[in-house]
Amino acid sequence: MLKNALAGAAFAVSALVCSTAFAQTIGFSQVGSEGDWRPAFSANMQESAKDYGIDLKFANAQGKQEEQLRAVRAFIAQGVDAIIIAPVVVTGWDQVLQEAKEAEIPIFLVDRDVEVKDPSLYVTRISADFNLEGKLAGAWLAAESKGTCKIVELQGTTGSAPAIERKKGFEAVIGQFPAMEIVATQSGDFTTEGGKKVMEAFIKSTNNLDGICASFAHNDNMQLGAIQAMKEAGLKPGKDVLMVSVDYVPAIVEALKAGEANASVELRSAVGKFIYPVILDYLKSPQELPKWIVIPSDLHTAN
C-alpha cells in the first residue's frame, strides 16, 4: 500500500519534472489593449497556451515600440525557446531581431507585419490577411447589391496597415463592377466616436444618404457609430443602407441580430489554436516555413 503510494508519488514527481523539462517557454510581446478585439486576442493567447502546456511570458507594450524592444530583449536574456511579436509598427526591427538570431531564438510574428532587410530574421508571420477581409466584404456587397452600389467608406486610422489593406482588397473587388463606386470616404480612426462623427457629416453632405446603397467600415466600432448616427437622423441602417464591416465584435453580433448591420468579416481573436501548433512543430523540427501563414477569415451575416 505504502509502496504503491510512494511509487505513485514518485511517478507524479517524475511526470512533473518531465513536463517542466519539455514545456516550452515562449515570450509574447503584445501591442497593447486598445479596442475590443485586442484584449480578446491577448486573453485567448494566454488561455490556449495552457492547453498546449506552454509557459507563456506575456508583455504588454502599451502601444510603444521602445517598450516592445525592451520586452524582446528581456525575453532574449531569459533564454526563452521562442518569441512571438505582435509589432506596434513595421520598421525598426533589424537590430533586435539580429540579437535574437544570435541567441538562436526563433521569432514568430502575429497580427501585423515588419519590414526587415534580411527576411531570415523571423521564421514566419501567422496572421489574418487584411486584404482578404476587404475582398470578402466587397464580394458580399457585390453579390447583395447585384453589382450596382454607391458606397460610403469609413476608413481606419490613416496610414495603418489594416486601413490600407482593407481598402485595397475592397477596391480590388468592387473595381470589377462598373456600377459600384465609393462616393465618399473619410477616416473614423477605428473608433465608435470617429465613425459616428464621419457618418453624421456624410448624412449631411449626401442629403440623407440619398442614393447611397452601402456603408463599408474598416472595423465594427466605426460601423456601430455610423449605425447610431443613421438612427438619430431617422434612417434605418441595415434596410435603407447595407452595412458591412470587419472584426465581428460582440456588439456587432447584436446589431446583426437586430437587423441594423448586414455583414461582418470576422477577424478571429481565438487564434492561439492556429499559432501555437506552428511554433511547437517548428521547435520540434526546425524547417523553412512560408513567410506568411494566413489564418482564414470568415464572413457572418444577419441570418
Binding site: 486598445e34 484584449p39 490613416t158 477616416s187 462623427k197 457629416a201 449631411k204 456601430l224 460582440p250 456588439a251
Partner: protein, 341 residues
C-alpha cells in the same frame, strides 16, 4: 463724415479680442458654403433640428466643456493634460456601474465624482506638492487610460456597450427641437460663469495666475485657489465624458477623447487667453471651441482624402493665430504702403 466715423469704429474694432476668432469662424463657414451649396440648410428630422450648423454646435459641446475647465486652470498659470484620461475614466465608471445595475441618476453622480476625484489628485500634486502643472497632470494623462482599462476588467470588459435612457437623453436626446446637450452646455456655462464672475473666485484665479506671490501677500490663499481650479477642470471634463460616453453607447478608454487636451488648450488660446495665466475668458473659449469644430466639420464634408485632415487643420489654426497676433498684423500693415499708422 459719418462714413469716416463708421470706418474708424471698424478700425478700432480690431483691438477688440472678440473680433478675430469670430472673423475666423465666419470665414470657415463662408468657405463651407462654397464647398457644399446646401451647407446652411436646417431641417427638422426625427423631431429635432438637423443640419451642418446644428452639427457644429452639437459636436462642439464636449470640446467646449473641456476647454472651459481648461480656461480656468490656464487662468491660474497652470495646464491640465489629463482631461482626455479623465474622460476615459468617467466612461469606464459609467459602463461598469451600468453593468452592475445601479440607478442611472446615481451613475451620473458617480461619473462627476470620478472627475472631481481626478481633479483633486491633480490639484494635490500641483497646489499641495508644488509639482509643475505640466508634469503633475502628465501623471494622470499617462495612467488614466490604464485605470479606465482596469475598471473595464471589473466586469470582463469584452463588450462595454450599454443603453441608458437618462444618459443618452442628456447626450443625444432633444427638448422641443433643440438637442438636450446644448441646454446642458448652456447650464454648465452659466453655472461656471456665475462661479467665476459673480463671486470673487474669478478675481482670485486671475490674481494667482498673474502673480501668485503678490496675491498671497494680499491675503489670497493661492494654493487653495489653484487646487480648486483643477477640481473645476476635472468636473467639467467629467461632464464632457458623460456626453461623449453616452453618445457612443460604449466605453473605449484607449481611444476616447484622444488629443482632446490639445484641442482644449487651442480653444482657450484662440479665445485670446495667454498660457502665462492671469486671464479667464469663458465666452471666448466657447468661440474657440466652435472655430475648431467648424474646421473639423468642414474637413469631413470637403471630400478631401483623409491624409490631408491634420495638415489642413494645422494650416487653418496657424492662420487664425496669425490673425490674432498683434506683431504679425503690424508687420503686415508696415509692408503695405500707406497702411502703416
Amino acid at each position: 463724415m459719418s462714413d469716416r466715423g463708421t470706418l474708424n469704429r471698424i478700425i478700432a474694432l480690431r483691438h477688440n479680442r472678440a473680433v478675430w476668432p469670430l472673423l475666423a469662424l465666419a470665414l470657415i463657414l463662408i468657405v463651407d458654403g462654397f464647398i457644399s451649396p446646401n451647407f446652411f440648410d436646417i431641417r427638422i428630422v426625427e423631431g429635432r433640428l438637423f443640419g451642418n450648423l446644428i452639427d457644429i454646435l452639437y459636436r462642439a459641446v464636449p470640446a467646449a466643456l473641456i476647454a472651459l475647465g481648461m480656461a480656468v486652470v490656464i487662468g491660474t498659470k497652470g495646464i491640465d493634460l489629463s482631461v482626455g484620461s479623465i474622460i476615459a475614466i468617467c466612461g469606464a465608471v459609467i459602463a461598469w456601474r451600468i453593468q452592475a445595475g445601479d440607478p442611472h441618476l446615481l451613475i451620473l453622480f458617480y461619473a462627476l465624482v470620478a472627475g472631481a476625484v481626478c481633479g483633486v489628485w491633480n490639484g494635490f500634486l500641483v497646489a499641495g506638492l508644488g509639482i509643475q502643472p505640466i508634469i503633475a497632470t502628465l501623471v494622470l494623462m499617462v495612467a488614466g487610460r490604464g485605470i479606465g482599462l482596469l475598471i473595464n476588467l471589473f466586469y470582463g470588459g469584452t463588450n462595454p456597450s450599454f443603453e441608458s435612457e437618462l444618459l443618452q437623453g442628456l447626450s443625444t436626446g432633444n427638448i422641443w427641437l433643440i438637442p438636450t446637450r446644448l441646454f446642458v452646455a448652456l447650464g454648465l456655462f452659466l453655472a461656471l460663469w456665475a462661479l467665476i464672475r459673480r463671486t470673487a473666485l474669478g478675481l482670485f484665479i486671475e490674481a494667482v495666475g498673474g502673480n501668485a506671490a503678490a496675491s498671497n501677500l494680499a491675503g489670497v490663499n493661492s494654493r487653495l485657489v489653484t487646487f480648486f481650479a483643477y477640481v473645476i477642470c476635472g468636473v467639467m471634463a467629467a461632464a464632457a465624458g458623460v456626453i461623449m460616453t453616452a453618445d457612443t453607447h460604449t466605453s473605449d478608454p484607449v481611444s476616447v477623447a484622444m488629443y482632446s487636451e490639445l484641442d482644449a488648450i487651442l480653444a482657450v488660446v484662440i479665445g485670446g487667453a495667454s498660457l502665462a495665466g492671469g486671464r479667464v475668458f469663458l465666452g471666448m473659449t466657447v468661440i474657440g471651441a466652435l472655430v475648431i469644430q467648424a474646421l473639423t466639420t468642414s474637413i469631413l464634408i470637403s471630400g478631401l482624402p483623409p491624409e490631408y485632415n491634420l495638415v489642413i487643420k494645422a494650416l487653418v489654426v496657424m492662420a487664425v493665430l496669425f490673425l490674432q497676433s498683434d506683431n504679425a498684423r503690424s508687420a503686415i500693415s508696415r509692408l503695405i504702403p500707406g497702411g502703416s499708422r
